[in-house]
């Protein structure tokens, strides 16, 4: 007050009015200022679409710091809970364990038998896929993580896991359970990460209906429900049909279970698409542990018999640095790399022929190109393993067009250790 009297204003009355104005409206002005700051911060986040793109480090700094601050406490709490729970379950509450053990042994025996059957089917499937030269994405490497928190609200379906960038987690990595897909990594801090679950409204995944082979997009539609969109209303979709990932979204590997169709209805607004409600395969409401897909391998699957000949050729190339690969010789060279092997048909005549000779091992076919081209005598085939130039023809090349029809003997040959000094091919 005293200051007001001692400081004369250039504009009498204005200074007093302004001071009164600020004093009188201090609270609303502070409110506006705080809201303005937050709106600007909000706009900054919304304006950066790159923060949602894969591979970018778009996690806001404040989120990263706060999560790093809170996560150790939560981890400690969870670990303490596990300690007491494990102590109880592992040392005290052990009744019925013997009975369970017997049941599990029986189950194990049954599963072993089933595994044999499935393996046979898988081998056959791989061979067929190799024939068609399918490229397939599958889970290459996973990282187990524990769910330590949620968003705490029904407005978003987000969980917090106890693995972060230190463990190799990155944005947009797929998160799954053995039952099915869970979601994808949204934000990463050093010790923890936020996972956007598939039933969130902002989430989406490319899926296929397993029986009808219809493609669609799996979306959250609020209140934790899931729907497959973009299926035309004239298509036929049955209740109970399984839904698996298509792999086309670049996040989820192909073929993972996503859910089951529980309801099919026409669009209530008369739209051209069906309303296909899905029950998620994973129990999204009670997640304890999840797997983060840290590596998605993408390669063409090869038939079971293909890998052995290729390994044999590589072994030969490593141990025979002087053997060259001259296509000129290869084209007309029908002589075997190993004199004991004889001509190609002879070499193919039985798996026991010259199995202990490295050149004979190299004389095994590259069955993958053969499967692709269907031409076993193509002379221009290039060997994979590098070798130094040499006037002598490459054993690999020499055999390249010969015995590709019988990969099985070659597989056995490749298991034999090659001798350090192979015999020269007969001239």
């Amino acid at each position: 007050m005293g200051r007001r009297g001692s400081a004369p204003s250039a504009f009498p009355g204005v200074g007093i009015d302004m001071e009164n104005f600020f004093t009188r409206y201090k609270n609303p002005m502070v409110l506006m200022a705080v809201i303005l700051i937050q709106v600007v911060a909000l706009a900054t986040q919304v304006k950066r679409p790159d923060s949602r793109t894969p591979g970018s480090s778009g996690t806001p700094l404040i989120r990263s710091w706060t999560m790093a601050l809170f996560t150790p406490f939560e981890r400690t709490l969870v670990a303490t809970g596990h300690f007491f729970r494990n102590t109880w379950h592992n040392y005290i509450d052990l009744h019925d364990v013997r009975k369970q053990n017997r049941e599990l042994q029986d189950e194990l025996a049954r599963l072993r038998l089933e595994q044999v059957r499935l393996r046979a089917g898988a081998d056959e499937s791989q061979r067929l896929r190799a024939l068609l030269d399918f490229k397939e994405r599958f889970v290459g490497q996973t990282l187990a993580a524990e769910v330590i928190g949620t968003s705490g609200t029904d407005l978003s379906r987000i969980i917090q896991i106890d693995k972060g960038s230190r463990a190799g987690v990155k944005q947009d990595m797929a998160v799954i359970t053995p039952d099915g897909i869970v979601g994808k990594v949204k934000d990463v801090s050093s010790l923890s990460s936020l996972v956007l679950m598939i039933n969130d409204r902002e989430s989406g995944a490319g899926v296929i209906l397993q029986n009808s082979r219809l493609h669609g997009i799996l979306r959250g539609v609020g209140q934790g429900e899931l729907q497959v969109s973009d299926i035309m209303s004239d298509e036929r979709v049955d209740t109970g049909e399984a839904v698996v990932t298509s792999g086309g979204d670049g996040v989820y590997p192909k073929g993972l279970p996503a859910g089951t169709v529980t309801k099919v209805a026409g669009d209530s607004e008369g739209g051209p698409f069906l309303f296909v409600k899905i029950k998620p395969a994973a129990n999204l409401e009670r997640l304890e542990e999840v797997l983060i897909v840290t590596k998605v391998a993408e390669e063409a699957p090869v038939a079971a018999g293909d890998s052995a000949p290729r390994r044999a050729a590589e072994i030969l190339a490593e141990r025979l640095p002087s053997v060259s690969k001259t296509p000129d010789n290869t084209a007309g060279n029908k002589t075997p790399a190993n004199g004991t092997a004889g001509p190609a048909p002879v070499a193919n005549s039985g798996p026991t022929a010259t199995m202990n000779k490295p050149a004979a091992a190299a004389a095994t076919p590259k069955s993958k190109p053969e499967l692709k081209t269907g031409d076993a005598s193509t002379p221009a085939r290039k060997p994979k393993a590098p070798a130094k130039p040499s006037p002598t023809p490459s054993a690999d090349d020499a055999a390249a067009g010969d015995n590709s029809e019988t990969p099985q003997p070659a597989e056995k040959k490749s298991q034999q250790p090659p001798s350090p000094e192979p015999e020269k091919p007969p001239r």
Partner: protein
């Protein structure tokens, strides 16, 4: 001369203070329970404990600036864990903190009935503000669930009656 409309019969309204540890620990505890404990106890998600704490501190202090700053801080922290844009809850709880502290000056907010109604109303206002920001500024598409919002508001009002009674013991009278 200005007149202040007041619905309280008391001559003067107590302005309460809180110790620093309480001012920090209680919001953090509410946030911790909301985010981490709700993993085990899913029904907690229907409550909004950070909002209740914001309302309690605002009406007890009866000073708008501390009230809105408390709301802003708690809301921002909640946004961090909710995974949504940081600022959605921050702005909504800033407004609630301001309104609650302004309301606390004018009406008696110490009896259970008024606490229930006040919290119920603030929950609805909070949701409305949140949705306006979400749709208007962020471009969100979350639909409005009237039934869920109403049930949640009533549940928060009932919890507030119990919670505020317990938290009254933390007040320091000047």
């Amino acid at each position: 001369m200005s007149y202040t409309i007041s619905l309280t019969s008391r001559e003067d309204i107590d302005v309460h203070r809180f110790s620093w540890p309480v001012s920090i620990a209680i919001p953090l505890l509410a946030l911790f329970i909301q985010v981490f404990v709700s993993r085990r106890l899913g029904f907690i998600k229907i409550f909004d404990l950070p909002l209740l704490v914001t309302i309690f501190f605002a009406v007890a202090r009866r000073r708008p600036v501390p009230g809105l700053i408390t709301g802003a801080a708690i809301g921002t922290l909640q946004d961090v864990f909710a995974g949504s844009y940081i600022g959605l809850n921050g702005i909504a709880k800033t407004v609630i903190g301001y309104l609650a502290s302004s309301l606390g000056v004018r009406i008696d907010v110490d009896n259970p009935g008024s606490r229930f109604l006040m919290t119920l109303a603030f929950c609805l206002v909070h949701r409305i503000v949140y949705m306006i920001i979400d749709i208007g500024l962020v471009g969100g598409t979350e639909p409005w669930y009237w039934g869920h919002t109403l049930v949640s508001s009533v549940a928060n009002g009932l919890l507030a009656v119990l919670l505020f009674a317990g938290m009254d013991r933390l007040k320091q009278r000047p």
